[in-house]
Every structure is written in C-alpha cells, then in structure tokens.
C-alpha cells in the first residue's frame, strides 16, 4: 500500500504544475514519516501507513521524550512533523515552537504573537487552538484574535499577516487552516455571539483576500449559483440564504465555521460544515435558518458552492454541523463510490456521495439519540433529507420558558470537533463520542454586539439507563450505518483518534490516558497516564527509522468546563442528586507533549 501511494503521488507531482492540491504539501503528506497536516491528509482520514508499532508490540511502548508548552489551558490539535522539524502550538497566547528532532527536540525558533487579552472571554469555552498548517516552506498560524500569520518554516520570521475578523464583535478563532493550491482556507468562531459565519480564502503568497463565502445572506454573499448549486439533487434557487429567515435575523445568524476542512483534489472541491444558528432560542428565528447546520462543497478557486446539505433545519438544540468530513473511496454493492462520511453533533452518522451530495446513509451512531426517529430517505418525499423531530424533545414545539427534559444527545453533541479516523484496511471509522443528555429551556434574549447571545439554559448529565459513563469510543461501518464495537469510557472522549497500518488505533481520554486498542476488536492493548487530561489529537511520525506516537496533554475546552466538577442527574430526584465523578478528581491543568516509541 505504502509504495503504491508513494508512486501515485510522485506521478501527480511530475505532471501537475500546482493545479492539483498544493504540490509541495501533497508530497509532504504522502511521506508517511511525516505528519504534515493536522488532519493527517486532505481526506481527513487520520490514518498512517507506519506499521512498526503494531498489535504485537504496542504494549512495550515507552515515553521517549516530553516537552512542556509553558501554557496552562486546553490543548487541542496536534504537532506537525515536516522533515526533521516538529512544529508545536499552544492555546492563547498561541505560541509556536519549532523543535529539532535530530537534537532531542532542541528549540530551533519560537514565535509568540502579541494579542489583546480581551479576546479571551469572547472565546466561548476556553482559548483552545487546533494547530498550525504547513505549505510551501511556510507555517500558517490562525490566532485567537483572528489574525492569520504566515511564518518562515526555517526561521519563524513573520512573512505576512492578515486580520480575518473583529473580536470586539465576538469574532474569534479556534481552528486550524487548510492550505489548498495557492490559497489558505480559513474559518471563524463566534456562533454564541451572533457572528455570521464565513469561510475565507487568502492567497498563500502575500495574504491578500481571494474570496469570502458567508453561511447565510444574499446569493452574492454566500457565493451560490441559484441554478447550479444543488441541495439533494435540486437547484437551491434564488435567495436561499435569506428566504428561510424572518427579517434581518440572518445578519446575526451564526452558522460559524470553526471545524475541520477536507479537500478532494480530483473533484477539486473543499468540504466543511457550518454551526448553529443564533440564538439558541429557536422561537426567535422562525424558518429553516439556511445555511446553518449545513455540509458545503465549494470550489477552492472562487468559493462557488457546488452542493449543500442541511442536516438539522431550524436547530433547537445547538447541534453545530462543523465536525470533520472524512473522504473515502469504497465499494457499495460492488460499485466504486466517492464518499463523504460525517459524524454530526446531532448523533447521526451521515454518508453522502461527495461529488453530487446525494444522501446514502444517515443512522444514529449512539443508540441513546432520541430527538429524532431518523431521516426521511425517500427522494420522492417532500421531507426528503429532513430528520423527523420527536415532539417531546422539540424545544420549539414545547416553547419558550418551558424546560424540555431528557433530550439525547446534549448540546455538546454525540460527537464534537474531536476528529475520528478511518482505516482503509478495516474500512471502519474510529469515533470518539459523548454519551451525555440534557434538559434545555429556551428564553428570549436581546442582541448586543460582542456580548454572548445564547438564550437557553442547559443541564447536562450522563445518558440514563446506560453504563453510567459520559463517553464511548466506537468503530463504525459507514455503509451499513452500524456500530461494529463500542468501548465505554467514564468521560467524554475529547481526543482525536489515529488509525495505523499496524492495526492499532490510538486515542486520549479526559483523565489523561493515551490508549491503544485493536482496530479489529477494540480490545485495549496499552495505556499510559500523561500529566493532564487529553483533548489533543494523536499523531505519528518516523525519525531515523523509528516510529513515534505523540499527543498533547492539557485539559480544558468545553470538556474541561462542563465536566470539571462532574455532572448531576436531576432525574435522580431531590436529595438524591449526587455528583457524577468529577474530572477534577483525576487531573489538573497542564500543557505538555508526550512522545512514545518502542524500546531499542
């Protein structure tokens, strides 16, 4: 497999002149000794061809070296490895370190931006950052304050910088960026501040603006072609980004774009999802609220949307659609298909044809999910593609100032941004999940620029009548739409997974364990407790002939906020309300990289 992949990409580089992907980045990605992009590859598979560490020897794994980042906050994302250099980022203040892997991680350079600390409290749910990107000898950092900066990968010198948003209006950033061709694709956060989400492409050479596509608004803002932008096989028509909104609510409509991005070089399309509509009180925004909660396929050159699919029309639960789109080539009934698989916050695992946007499967990837009975899969139905909402769990139907109880999943979703992985060997997806339910009471709020714009009260608790834990790590068959195996976890699994050719799958836990499990069975093969809870993503690389596995520890993020004190179950009744196990009993703030390898 490895040699074939190498050969193919080498050919692509020879024949293409920057027309496909980004030639430099694609060649770096295709070298399995490296981890050149946060998502492992453009397809977001988070799969490595390295197999030195395998099911037979993974229990011998040891810590090779460690590195303290000097920052005590939630550490999401992962380091990159390009050549002999590892690039490590931190949460706010968003320091970047270049470490020399030939000299035990000696610091080659360090970059620390100056940022106004007033950005800190407008970042909903901790000052996390999901890492830097690499292309054409540059490191791209997207800071908390929405400054995008290009650094010389050899020296750390800032080459250009551009401001993507305005933090005084609640516009911030937590995501990485995706280099494609001669552009850098950039998202934005702030759905809880009434920010109107957008995706922006900057020219890689100098940071100049190439295009910006909003999630809602006039066709010229959302870069839709009414005749040729498709939704479930039909043209969207004119004004699709405003005609499902009442009045001007779309101008503070949310649909932010803080998740992961993927790219199909052959189809020449980028894929990503948009977040919740603002506010969380559905009564204040009648209509489907397009195109919040939507999967987008866009042309990277000019941003034009080829197709869209709105998963959760008129959100009533904060089920952002920003989770990663994983691109795979698989056979369905003997026919080769170009697929896109997405594990949504709403608890449904979607598989679509990524060329056309045709819906293939939409099934619950946590049996606890109860807000819907499922998605209408009949193309002839007027409700084609829509989830059937269970009235009991509809915060819209129950109304303002009414507490809807027992909704599964909770607002943090059956899965949040923590990315899943896919092994082409097993054709299974390995998915970190939450197993948490909620009560949700919407009420009226007023909008003030730069202030929280939420409008709902939430109480969250472990899924009732289950194993009592708040998470599962599952293997998912995307074509059958079935869970293959499920490992119960005490806390939500908030760490990105890594699948390897050694048939070992890695993930981290909120208590701080790095765990290795069998790709076939889920059987635990190894665990090691790192200094702090893990919300970072596991990565692997090879240096001087040895395979290494690395992960950032540093508890925080929404998990650290929601679970630090433990959750309670109000359904246990008055007097019996006992705190479920508190995360603060297991771990404390940290910021450390731990690198593992096999003994010599």
């Amino acid at each position: 497999m490895k040699s074939i992949k190498y050969l193919t990409s080498a050919l692509a580089i020879c024949s293409a002149t920057g027309a496909l992907a980004n030639a430099d980045l694609q060649s770096q990605i295709d070298n399995p000794a490296q981890w050149a992009i946060q998502t492992g590859d453009y397809e977001n598979q988070r799969y490595s061809d390295l197999d030195q560490i395998n099911t037979e020897n993974v229990d011998d794994l040891q810590v090779a070296w460690t590195f303290s980042t000097g920052v005590l906050r939630g550490h999401e994302g992962s380091p990159l490895v390009v050549g002999d250099t590892m690039f490590v980022h931190t949460p706010f203040p968003n320091i970047v370190y270049a470490l020399d892997l030939t000299q035990d991680g000696k610091i080659k350079w360090k970059y620390e931006p100056k940022q106004d600390p007033n950005v800190i409290p407008v970042m909903c749910c901790d000052t996390v950052n999901r890492g830097v990107a690499y292309a054409d000898g540059k490191i791209f950092l997207h800071q908390a304050d929405t400054t995008v900066v290009a650094l010389d990968a050899n020296t750390g010198e800032a080459l250009w910088s551009v401001k993507n948003g305005d933090p005084s209006k609640g516009e911030t950033n937590t995501a990485t960026v995706m280099p494609v061709k001669d552009k850098v694709i950039v998202g934005i956060s702030g759905g809880e501040f009434g920010v109107r989400g957008s995706v922006t492409a900057y020219n890689m050479a100098d940071g100049s603006l190439a295009w910006r596509a909003y999630s809602m608004g006039p066709d010229s803002d959302i870069l839709f072609d009414p005749e040729n932008t498709m939704h479930l096989g039909q043209p969207v028509g004119a004004d699709s980004g405003t005609n499902t909104w009442e009045g001007d609510q779309w101008m503070i409509g949310g649909g932010t774009t803080w998740g992961w991005y993927s790219y199909d070089a052959e189809a020449d399309l980028i894929y990503y999802g948009s977040g919740n509509p603002s506010t969380w009180n559905p009564a204040q925004r009648p209509g489907d609220n397009r195109w919040s909660m939507t999967i987008f396929a866009r042309d990277p050159d000019d941003g034009t949307a080829k197709w869209v699919y709105q998963m959760t029309p008129h959100d009533e639960w904060d089920f952002d659609g920003i989770n990663e789109m994983i691109l795979t080539d698989q056979d369905i009934d003997g026919t080769p298909r170009k697929l896109l698989t997405h594990f949504d916050r709403n608890g449904l695992g979607y598989t679509l044809d990524r060329l056309t946007g045709e819906l293939i499967t939409a099934e619950k990837f946590d049996p606890a999910v109860n807000w819907t009975t499922g998605v209408d899969m009949d193309p002839a139905s007027e409700n084609y593609g829509r989830p059937a909402v269970v009235a009991q769990y509809s915060t819209e139907q129950n109304g303002e100032d009414v507490n809807s109880t027992g909704i599964c999943p909770a607002a943090l979703g059956s899965k949040d941004q923590q990315p899943a992985s896919y092994s082409p060997k097993t054709e299974l997806f390995y998915v970190p999940t939450n197993h948490v339910c909620m009560d949700y009471e919407p009420f009226r709020v007023s909008y003030t620029a730069g202030q929280p714009y939420v409008g709902a009260t939430l109480a969250m608790y472990p899924a009732p009548d289950s194993h009592g834990g708040m998470g599962n790590f599952i293997a998912w068959d995307n074509i059958a739409g079935e869970i293959k195996w499920s490992v119960p976890e005490q806390f939500s699994v908030w760490s990105g997974a890594l699948a390897t050719a050694g048939d070992v799958v890695f993930y981290g836990t909120l208590e701080g364990y790095l765990k290795a499990v069998s790709a076939e069975t889920g059987e635990e093969l190894y665990r090691f407790k790192t200094p702090s809870g893990i919300i970072g993503n596991v990565m692997t690389y090879e240096q001087a002939g040895k395979q290494y596995v690395a992960v950032l520890s540093g508890v925080g993020g929404w998990a650290g906020i929601g679970l630090a004190a433990g959750l309670t179950n109000p359904n246990d009744g008055l007097g019996a309300v006992g705190g479920y196990s508190a995360l603060s009993d297991y771990t404390a703030l940290g910021g450390q990289l731990t690198v593992f390898t096999l003994p010599d």
């Binding site: 749910c125 901790d126 929601g562 004190a565």
Partner: protein
Amino acid sequence: MIRQGFSLVAVTAGLMVASGVWAETAHSMDDPNIAVSYEEDGRYYTEDDIPTFNISEDGAVDWLTFSGFRRYHSECHVCHGPDGEGSTYAPALKKSALTMDYYDFVDVATNGRQKIGAAENSVMPAFGTNLNVMCYLDDIYVYLKARGMEAVPRGRPAKKAAKSDAIRESENACMGM
C-alpha cells in the same frame, strides 16, 4: 448604600483576622450577609439591604434564585461551569458570591477584570452593555449565594415561588420589552 457596603467588608475582614482562613464554614445561615431581614415585592434582602435568597418551608426557592439559575446557565456557565462549581477555565462563582462583597461582585460583572501573568490568563469580560446579564444581576447573585450555602442542590430548583408583578414590571422595563 456605599457606607453599608464598607461596613460589611470590615466585618468580613475582621472574621478573617480572627480565624486566619477563608473557611466556607464561617458562613452560617445566621450570617448577616445571608440571613433574610425583610421581603419587598418578592425580593429578599439582608439587614444591610443586600439581596439574598429565600427558601420557604415547603422548599420552594424565591423567584430571583430560580431566575438566577436560568440566567447563570445561559450567560455564565460556558466559562464558570455548571451550578457555579467552577471549571478548568474560570473560578467557582458559588464561592465568590460568599467571599466577595456584593458591590465588588456587581463591579466585576459590569466592568470586567483581568489577571494576566506568566502562569495565568484570566479575563472576565465587562457585561455592562449586556441586558441579558445586567437586568438579572441580582438574580444571578442570589442564586450563586444559595449555591455557595448549598441551600439549593445542584441542578434545576425543583420548586419556586411565583414571579411577582413588581419583578415582571421591572424586568420588562430593564429589557425594554
């Protein structure tokens, strides 16, 4: 009002000197910063005119405490964690509501506060222009006080007093509804 605030600080400081610690057990229901002195249109106050919570004999919380539960879990919990318990990101406000003077509490919520240093990047935003917070500041304050005293358990208060007409009118006036 300000004078009363100062005298409260003095009393608290005196307790600190005497015991040498910020022991939470120092706060009893008889604490002058906790005990209800009088009620006015469904709002409860201490003898120093500081808002406080009230739990009736049947276990129902006063309206402001219930309303504070709702507003806290909309505006505050995304940083400060559920039920005023604190998080990896921000301190436990159920403790702050007991150890902080009421006027300091109002000042920090209105104007914000920064603690920036080598080991800490803690920033409380200014909510002064946010009606969803400012119109309900006393509600949030008394709810957190009740949580700090464990007078209400974690989660949604099971029983609550009705919303008085006076509270409804002042809410509408404040929110501009």
